[in-house]
């Protein structure tokens, strides 16, 4: 019956009665699906696919990521962000002050252990400022990565009952963590202004402007790695064990508690390939005037981030279709 209608001009009755185009009707998606479905004789059959708002198939085309759908669910994204922020410190006395306590205590520990006991170099920067700068940025990455890497397992009860674009959840985590990051950054900025006005140890420069870019890269890396790992762990939980201590170990492979300049030539070359290295070093150089900021390094990190995010979205998109059967 479809072949009879194959050449029906758009605008027939069913097209007119089509409802709510804002939701699922995406011509790009339809095209991808038409192309990915060869007919029984090997030909591509365009059997009035236009009339349907949504076509579910066993496997989607791997590039068939419906970004417009995420836009229609933007209110849900906002609700998740709000929930993540509001609910964390509900029924606590100190409330959002806890956002400060954690980095301050971590910083003090580092100052004592790495600065005073181990006497590691801080590249001429006051130790509290040096550690806090690294902790603030690293925390953002670690939090984003840790939380997004359990997207599927932690939300299985919701995902099993209702459909919405699954990418909303990791997106909301990354964004709500930005707010937490900004709060912690303000703490760093206060300390930084204090050192800036009272001493001559801190030399900010124009690289400061790249902070926003650094944040974007950190968000991208946390998001990208997170959704790759959550996709891989739906069936095999093995990687969750790796994540637990892997993030902690990765911090030592990143110039957080030591400056790049304190390393030997050989180790500097190895660390150069860590995409987070350039983000941290650029951030430190911009604010503190000590570090190794380079255009090449940032370009490498950017390329790495784009590839990670793209690969992450593809594998996430493939996993989200049937993960409920195995999670």
């Amino acid at each position: 019956m479809f072949s009879e209608h194959r050449f029906v001009v758009v605008g027939d009755e069913q097209n007119n009665s089509r409802t709510k185009p804002h939701l699922l009707n995406n011509s790009a998606q339809t095209m991808a699906e038409v192309l990915s479905k060869p007919g029984p004789d090997g030909l591509v059959t365009a059997d009035r696919e236009d009339d349907w708002d949504l076509i579910l198939r066993p496997k989607r085309h791997f590039l068939d990521v419906n970004l417009r759908e995420i836009w229609t669910y933007r209110d849900l994204l906002l609700m998740f962000i709000k929930r993540d922020i509001v609910t964390v410190y509900k029924q606590t006395i100190l409330g959002p002050i806890w956002f400060f306590v954690q980095p301050v205590l971590t910083m003090l520990t580092y100052v004592i252990v790495f600065g005073n006991i181990a006497k590691l170099s801080t590249g001429g920067i006051p130790a509290p400022l040096f550690y806090l700068s690294g902790i603030t940025l690293w925390n953002y990455f670690a939090e984003s990565f840790n939380k997004t890497s359990s997207t599927f397992t932690a939300n299985a009860h919701i995902f099993g009952k209702v459909y919405f674009p699954r990418l909303i959840v990791p997106l909301s985590i990354v964004i709500s963590n930005v707010i937490r990051f900004l709060i912690q950054l303000s703490l760093f900025v206060i300390l930084w202004v204090w050192y800036l006005t009272t001493s001559d140890t801190v030399h900010p420069n124009l690289w400061l402007l790249s902070t926003v870019w650094c944040l974007l890269l950190m968000a991208g890396l946390g998001f990208g790695f997170g959704i790759i790992f959550t996709s891989l762990t739906t069936k095999y939980r093995d990687l969750t064990f790796l994540i637990q201590f892997g993030v902690q170990l990765a911090m030592y492979a990143t110039p957080i508690i030591y400056p790049m300049s304190a390393l030997s030539e050989k180790y500097q070359q190895i660390l150069w390939w860590n995409p987070i290295t350039h983000v941290i070093e650029t951030f430190k150089y911009g604010f503190l005037g000590s570090g190794q900021a380079s255009i090449a390094g940032l370009l490498y990190s950017t390329t790495f981030t784009v590839i990670t995010v793209a690969f992450g979205i593809i594998i996430f998109n493939k996993t989200e279709q049937t993960f409920m059967d195995t999670v």
Binding site: Q14, S17, R18, T19, K20, L23, L24, D51, W52, D53, L54, I55, L56, R57, P58, K59, R60, Y73, D75, L76, L78, M79, K82, R83, V86, T87, K90, Q91, I158, F159, G160, K161, V162, Y163, F164, K235, Y236, Q321, T322, F323, M324, D325, T326
Partner: protein, 436 residues
């Protein structure tokens, strides 16, 4: 009429048992088949969805045979895969209220999961028109720390509503839920009933073209259930929305649905009008219910008079609960014996939830030591749809203190109002009164 949902050759394969180390081997094997352009080897050995049979039994009766040549191979592989759904073809018209019935594990919920995009089919395609909202659970995404108001927005957003859509209907939602007083209290302080009310209230105000409902109506107290049913009826009567509705409650199926399908062992066995399908469905149910205990009379006469058998419309009553499609014809027959022949008043009591509706008396009936049949005929279409407790007893007409009785001997579940009854004639019983 346009087609709102079209399901073509849809199948869903599930793996039985735990997902353990063997999975990796299966995945590699599957990948190796895929690389060589062959069919998924586990799809071929998938079994028919029949929960009562253990995995070692191959292909039950009426099963669709697996794809050709794999029979030889399938005996070598353990039957770890099962077809929860197999070759489903279904078209749902716009405005149709389709009830889906079937035994537990027949694949009803899997079908709804596929339709609501929770998981993808293994084979086949599903095409839909319009905005789909699925209601497989009420209150999905409620966060215990958030207040009722925040959770209304949260739940609405998860179900696909825009913020302004929720704001517009907030008052109605709150009123429907009956939780206005607790709107700014965290949901963790709510009783479970209140949480469910709030969840259903949001869902009931969803604006969508296709609504997919899994048995969520069986929530809340009696008053709220009626409210839900009324709301469902209102949603479904405007004929704008297409509704798919899984239920075990045959009365609500009859009440709400315009058509129905029976899902059995992963395939659609029947499609038709609700009344026809309810009858087919009931006939297919195994007789596993509690047996009726005819020796359960109490009272001074209970040692003397015995009930041999009871039948309704000439069908012997064996179970504690008996289903009757409608009450157009209701004829009860009790076969009694007495140790010594005598004259008794025989009664048949009809009650609902402990309240006696009526008692039919066959007075001064002679019961002998042989079998005596007593027949009670109810007026045509006297009882409405519902569950009635029936009791049988005897009494000595000359000595009222001598009796034998069981007021709750068995139950009759009348599924339908009689076809001829007036839609406004509501109530548990219909009395032969006239009006002018």
């Amino acid at each position: 009429m346009t087609v709102a949902i079209k399901i073509e050759n849809v199948s869903k394969l599930y793996r039985l048992g735990t997902v353990g180390t063997g999975t990796l081997a299966h995945d590699l094997n599957r990948w190796w088949h895929m690389v060589r352009g062959k069919q998924d080897p586990y799809a071929k050995v998938g079994q028919v969805n029949d929960r009562s049979k253990s995995g070692s039994v191959k292909q039950g009766d009426g099963a669709l045979p697996p794809a050709g040549s794999s029979m030889r191979k399938s005996s070598a592989l353990k039957p770890e895969y099962v077809w929860a759904l197999r070759d489903i073809n279904l078209e749902v018209q716009q405005g149709e209220i389709l009830g889906i019935i079937g035994k537990n594990g027949a694949g009803k919920s899997t079908l709804l999961k596929l339709l609501s995009r929770v998981t993808a089919p293994t084979e086949g395609t599903i095409k839909t028109k319009g905005r789909i909202a699925s209601l497989l659970e009420v209150g999905t995404g409620f966060h215990p720390e958030l207040t009722g108001r925040e959770n209304i927005y949260m739940n609405g957003a998860i179900l696909g509503m825009r913020r302004h859509e929720i704001s517009k209907q907030l008052d109605e939602i709150v009123e429907f839920s009956g939780c206005a007083k607790y709107l700014d209290t965290p949901v963790k302080r709510y009783s479970s009933g209140m949480t469910v009310r709030l969840g259903f209230a949001v869902a009931a105000h969803l604006d969508c073209e296709v609504l997919i409902v899994d048995e969520v109506l069986a929530v809340g107290d009696w008053e709220f259930q009626n409210k839900c049913l009324a709301k469902m009826k209102a949603i479904t009567t405007d004929r704008r929305r297409t509704v798919l509705f899984v239920t075990h409650n045959l009365a609500s199926l009859r009440h709400l649905c315009s058509s129905a399908v029976i899902v059995d062992k992963g395939t659609i066995r029947h499609r038709g009008l609700p009344d026809e399908l309810i009858e087919i469905h009931l006939r297919s149910l195994p007789s596993s219910g509690e047996q009726v205990n005819l020796n359960s009379l109490s009272g001074p006469l209970s040692s003397q008079v015995k009930i041999e058998s009871i039948s309704i419309n000439s069908n012997p009553v064996c179970q504690q609960q008996v289903e009757v499609v409608d009450s157009t014809k209701l004829e009860f027959e009790a076969v009694l014996t007495a140790e010594t022949s005598g004259v008794f008043d025989v009664g048949l009591a009809v009650s609902v939830r402990g309240v006696r509706l009526t008692t039919l008396i066959a007075s001064e009936t002679r019961i002998t030591s042989g079998e005596t049949r007593v027949i009670f005929r109810m007026p045509e279409a006297m009882l409405s749809a519902g569950v009635f407790q029936l009791g049988v007893g005897v009494s000595d007409p000359f000595n009222r203190s001598s009796w034998a009785w069981n007021e709750n001997l068995f139950e009759v579940n009348i599924l339908n109002n009689p076809p001829a009854s007036h839609p406004l004639a509501k109530g548990l019983v219909h009395l032969p009164v006239s009006s002018s």
